[in-house]
């Protein structure tokens, strides 16, 4: 009963935190209601626009589409029969556009030369677009956006690992509904999104980022033969090589360039095959080739956020039909440049949002119900085969007849487009609890009404006198009116889709603040319990308390600025180093432990360097070279043993760790189970060393051994770790503590627990793992040493309550370790590679657990399970006589303090998310930070609960 009395606050706090976060997340993370409505061919009769039939009746001279499409006329007149969509995952704009469009020519530019050639030679029917995606720029969200024409919301990011089928109306659904046959090859995410839609599919697993070739080779194998077949209308080939090469090697790397060269040769073949069959009556007479990226990537190969590099991808469109007519260019956004070979290439800009609706218009199928995009004039014209560059140079009125027809057609498409978007917005407002605000609806509604009214006049004119009057200016006005309406809707959707529920958010924040008070009261309560059994005394010097409060408050306040969030690691190490300098002052007054403090300061130098390296990796790879000028690298490469040094240092660190552990085993009184666990850990360390040695190129092993070692060793280590943990658990449940000294039992338990966790964490963290582990060991030792420093002379002064300063330092150090082990608070900061150490195939739960251990191993799990050291080291045996329970009261107080110190910054980051919810970077920076903090907090709470359960024994046993 006594134990429960000590432990229940932890569980209560965990529950309160959970509730607060759940409520807040419900209000904050956007959820868009997905409407279960689908567009149908017959719907178009409700629109005020011409149907395609009536339009072509009134204008018989509109270029006739090929005979096959005539039978299935629907919303718009089909302009192309077949579409080939080649998706290159993470295709940056500068992969496609000529290098002359950019300030500097980089090695990865100008590799897809066939696209340049086509765009310059066939300026009439081929064009390069800069496609602007909407964040979040993860593949699943983008595929969803590309097919539904909506704005997938942030909450979907979580689904990226287990892609659920799209239930909204989408392009693929419309294709299937309207009798188009779709063939898919490549990334298997498509199969998860559209499980039953494809006529034929050749999916390949996409989650192993280390595998550059499986998906691509599978695509190539099926793509070219398919081009000779006529059993499909839409072909989708999704290549993943560039994305994976970026994730593993970065953009500026030879595998990336090889990949691009490979794609160039594939595209050459594809274009060649299509061209040969594009003669009238051929298989590809009226085919549109689209080469596109789903999103861009940073130079590190990361994507997910909203930075320009990530959202700017490219789209290359090419029609194999000869363009017959010309159209004015007012609606385009072309910019032209000469490429390296002196050919003129024009590029335009397109919103990725506009892609599905334009494609639907080209194919003549109903627009997806939830699409809010606009039919892009340039892409539409390209497909419709009526775009002519000469026309725009000479003037608008040369081919006025054809131009007029094209514009009439386009106006009609936009009319249907606007009607469909309006219908969606109205339906959405009606069926969703939180729709758009009345004010905005009124505004867009009036835009729509104006446009439609205008349209009714013009259409009357058009129908009454088909020639004589110049209708081009009025058509242009009409196009502008529709474009205005559609643009305002897109803007409205982008800004307001985030359905923040401020009430829930405030409630969640309020509960969080309340939990802080509960936390504080719980600390006081434990302190009082301690105090009541012994003499009353004041708790700690005020200066230390003030210092730790100041540090925590500074850290919490720093979250209000995006710059400080970006540099959180540096800020934390700055604060921690400041406490170190205060410790230096102490050590001067006490004239001892000077070496201890000095080592701590040196360790801080190590931390700040590793954090800076991590920051640079986050920002840019080229920035790394800027900050660490080339001479550093030169010297590094000149040193003869450099490669040996970099490869041997982790192993040496590992040996040191093992040695320390061995020393611990021999020196302490650990017996039985504990000893067994520690020997298991040493065995693991040996295995890790062997594993790394296998990875070295320096030592050559037979490839067979390498293959076994690559996966077997990590699995053995995981198994040993699990075995150790269950052994400890078993011991806890059924073993009896025969040792009389609680302190030593606690120390042994802690050491065994840390020993059981460490090999798994180290192998997941990679080669830096052993270094970080060593650093954390030294850091922990120094913090405990510095804590002793203050109390050495005080004797019995303040033994009863825990000091907050070492606990604060402990938590700050834990956060420093998070950053110095190469993590940062963004989804691209997750080291996905770690999830695949020891496993090749993807299983959601297993990989998620490994990723969590990798991300929070050093910053949450180890510090929390190691916290008893602070308490136990200070608790000298002379005080043990005063009562065993004191030790565990202090332990629980330390855990409460640790929890409070972790909860305060999370509360601050919740507050800052509330304040900054309309900030430009809310999805790029604040939301990821919030998610990381919240996950870390929940993990901290749960770990603390488990740790206290494990460490605090039954009152009678100890």
């Amino acid at each position: 009963m006594r134990k429960w009395n000590l432990l229940w606050p932890f569980w209560a706090i965990t529950i309160v935190h959970g509730v607060a976060i759940l409520i807040f997340v419900k209000g904050f993370l956007l959820t868009r209601t997905e409407l279960p409505f689908y567009s149908r061919c017959s719907d178009v009769s409700q629109s005020p626009c011409f149907t395609s039939d009536s339009l072509s009746d009134s204008n018989p001279s509109v270029p006739p589409s090929s005979g096959a499409a005539n039978s299935s006329r629907c919303w718009t007149k089909p302009a192309v029969n077949r579409i080939i969509i080649i998706v290159f995952d993470a295709l940056r704009f500068d992969f496609v556009a000529p290098s002359t469009f950019f300030e500097e020519s980089k090695p990865w530019m100008d590799k897809l030369r066939v696209l340049h050639k086509m765009a310059s030679e066939r300026g009439l029917s081929a064009k390069i677009f800069k496609a602007i995606a909407d964040p979040p720029t993860t593949s699943l969200q983008r595929l969803k956006g590309i097919t539904t024409g909506g704005l997938p919301t942030f909450i979907d990011v979580g689904n990226s690992f287990g892609a659920p089928a799209i239930i909204e109306d989408n392009l693929i659904h419309q294709l299937v509904q309207n009798g188009k046959r779709v063939v898919m090859m490549g990334d298997d995410t498509w199969m998860q999104l559209f499980p039953h839609h494809f006529k034929k599919a050749f999916p390949y697993p996409s989650f192993n980022v280390k595998d550059l070739h499986t998906v691509d080779n599978g695509c190539i194998e099926h793509l070219l033969p398919s081009l000779y077949e006529d059993d499909w209308d839409v072909l989708i080939a999704h290549f993943l090589g560039v994305d994976h090469a970026g994730h593993i090697f970065g953009v500026d790397s030879s595998p990336m360039i090889e990949k691009l060269e490979q794609y160039n040769s594939i595209l050459e073949k594809v274009v060649d095959v299509l061209e040969r069959q594009s003669e009238p009556g051929g298989l590809h007479e009226n085919t549109l080739l689209l080469v596109m990226g789903d999103h861009g990537q940073t130079l590190n190969g990361d994507h997910g956020g909203g930075s320009a590099e990530e959202v700017e991808t490219s789209l290359f469109a090419m029609s194999f039909k000869k363009p017959p007519a010309s159209v004015p260019s007012e609606f385009g956004t072309s910019s032209c440049q000469l490429d390296l070979e002196g050919r003129e290439i024009c590029t335009s800009t397109i919103q990725q949002l506009d892609f599905p609706v334009t494609l639907s218009a080209l194919l003549g199928i109903p627009f997806p119900f939830g699409s809010i995009g606009r039919v892009n004039p340039e892409l539409y014209a390209l497909g419709a085969g009526t775009w002519k560059l000469e026309g725009m140079k000479v003037g608008n009125y040369i081919n006025s007849r054809e131009q007029e027809e094209w514009m009439q057609n386009y106006v009609n498409v936009l009319c249907i487009n606007s009607w469909q978007v309006k219908r969606y917005i109205d339906n959405y407002t009606a069926s969703s609890v939180i729709g758009f605000s009345d004010e905005d609806l009124l505004h867009t509604g009036s835009l729509y009404a104006d446009a439609m009214e205008n349209w009714s006049y013009i259409s009357k004119d058009l129908l009454s006198n088909s020639d004589g009057m110049d209708v081009v200016p009025s058509l242009k006005r009409q196009i502008d009116a529709y474009s205005n309406f559609l643009a305002s809707i897109a803007e409205l959707a982008r800004s307001k889709w985030t359905e923040f529920n401020l009430k829930l958010m405030t409630l969640g924040f309020g509960i969080m603040v309340a939990s802080l008070f509960v936390h504080f009261i719980a600390i006081k309560r434990v302190g009082k319990q301690c105090g009541s059994s012994f003499a009353t005394e004041d708790c700690g010097t005020t200066f230390e308390l003030m210092l730790s409060c100041f540090m925590v408050a500074m850290r919490a306040c720093s979250f209000l600025s995006n710059s400080f969030i970006l540099e959180e690691g540096k800020v934390t190490s700055f604060l921690l180093a400041t406490t170190g300098i205060f410790m230096l002052r102490y050590s001067i007054t006490k004239q001892k432990h000077f070496l201890n403090v000095f080592i701590f300061l040196l360790l801080m130098i190590y931390c700040r360097f590793t954090i800076e390296v991590g920051l640079l990796k986050q920002a840019d790879t080229s920035a790394f070279l800027k900050a660490y000028p080339s001479w550093v690298l030169e010297i590094a490469s000149l040193l003869p043993g450099w490669t040996y040094i970099t490869k041997s240092v982790p192993i040496i660190a590992l040996i040191l760790l093992a040695q320390l552990l061995l020393k611990n085993i021999t020196s302490s009184h650990s017996k039985g189970v504990w000893k067994f666990v520690m020997y298991g850990t040493i065995l693991c360390y040996i295995l890790i060393g062997f594993h790394w040695a296998l990875e070295n190129e320096v030592l050559h092993f037979a490839s067979a051994i390498e293959g076994i070692g690559k996966n077997c060793i990590p699995r053995i280590i995981y198994a040993i770790g699990l075995g150790q943990l269950s052994l400890l658990l078993f011991r806890q449940l059924f073993g009896e503590d025969k040792l009389l000294d609680c302190r030593i039992t606690l120390l042994t338990k802690t050491a065994a627990m840390l020993a059981a966790w460490s090999p798994t964490i180290i192998i997941l963290a990679g080669k830096q793992g052993s270094l970080v582990a060593l650093a954390s060991l030294i850091g922990g030792y120094c913090i405990i040493g510095m804590d002793n420093l203050k109390h050495g002379e005080d004797g019995n002064g303040r033994i009863l309550t825990v000091d907050c300063l070492p606990v604060t330092q402990w938590s700050l150090f834990a956060i420093c370790l998070f950053f110095s082990s190469g993590h940062w608070c963004a989804f691209d900061g997750l080291r996905y590679g770690a999830a695949f150490i020891g496993f090749d195939e993807f299983v959601l739960v297993r990989q998620a657990i490994l990723l969590t251990i990798d991300t929070f191993g050093f910053s949450v799990i180890l510090p929390i399970f190691g916290l008893p050291f602070i308490v136990a080291k200070k608790y000298s045996s002379s005080q043990a006589s005063k009562g065993e329970n004191t030790l565990f009261m202090r332990l629980s107080q330390a855990y409460l303090m640790y929890g409070l110190i972790m909860a305060v910054p999370v509360t601050a980051s919740i507050l800052c998310v509330i304040i900054q919810r309309r900030h430009l970077m809310v999805w790029g920076l604040f939301a990821p930070k919030f998610v990381f903090d919240v996950v870390a907090l929940i993990l901290t709470d749960v770990s603390i609960c488990l740790a206290t359960l494990y460490y605090v024994p039954h009152p009678d046993s100890c």
């Binding site: 600025s561 995006n562 710059s563 400080f564 970006l566 540099e567 540096k570 800020v571 190490s573 700055f574 180093a577 400041t578 170190g580 300098i581 002052r585 102490y586 001067i588 007054t589 300061l601 801080m604 130098i605 700040r608 800076e612 900050a627 660490y628 000028p629 001479w631």
Partner: protein, 226 residues
């Protein structure tokens, strides 16, 4: 034993009147202003445009002033001549620079060839603010150093004159580092510009504060004597 020594030390140190302290601080402050003026008018540079030259100028102007002024208040007059005090001031400048540079690097000052000169000059200036005065006055008397910098228990006007500005400069520099990560993209956010500004401002404020302290203390002592 310890208290006896302390008393000895305080007895040995010459008493400094408030007016004298005021003049010392005034000259130090004027020296700083002079350094900035020279930088502006002679070299047409300031901390932002050319931090390392400006810091060097501040060092050249301020350091001799500090050494020469504070050496007059050396505690152990019998064993230590004026010149010796000046010499240990110069020694203290170098030692203090190393300590300051180490502290800055621990806290996260950037390292690299382009920062080397700036860090060097900055740490010398910081040293002349914080370490040099007490090096001149106390020399190698560990007890006095400990009293001022570890316990922070200044005793008497001369202690105030040394201790408070030194702490002011260091605390000012610490706070001066805070705007550095902000994304305002101002030139003064570079290392060590805003840190130097913080140090100079902290130092100046602390000089005024030290005068106020000394004044209040002397008033208190008068009351006690009465």
């Amino acid at each position: 034993m310890e208290t006896e020594k302390k008393e000895m030390a305080s007895k040995a140190s010459p008493s400094v009147s408030i007016a004298e302290a005021f003049f010392v601080h005034l000259i130090c402050g004027l020296g700083l202003a002079l350094a900035f003026l020279i930088a502006r008018h002679v070299y047409s540079a300031d901390l932002i445009s050319d931090p390392s030259r400006t810091l060097f100028l501040i060092l050249i102007v301020e350091c001799p002033i500090v050494i020469l002024l504070y050496s007059r208040y050396r505690t152990d007059r019998e064993q230590c001549s004026y010149l010796k005090a000046v010499a240990r001031g110069i020694l203290g400048l170098l030692a203090g620079a190393i300590i300051n540079a180490f502290g800055a690097i621990v806290l996260g000052a950037p390292i690299g060839a382009q920062y080397l000169l700036k860090t060097l000059n900055w740490s010398l200036v910081m040293s002349s603010f914080s370490v040099v005065p007490s090096a001149c006055v106390f020399g190698s008397s560990w007890m006095d150093w400990q009293r001022l910098f570890a316990y922070t228990k200044p005793n008497g006007t001369i202690d105030h004159m040394i201790c408070i500005p030194a702490h002011g400069a260091i605390i000012g520099a610490w706070f001066g580092a805070w705007p550095m990560p902000l994304d305002w993209e101002r030139p003064w956010q570079e290392w060590p510009i805003c840190v130097s500004y913080g140090a100079v401002i902290g130092y100046s404020i602390a000089m005024v504060a030290s005068l106020a302290f000394s004044h209040a203390r002397s008033g208190l002592q008068h009351v006690k004597r009465d």
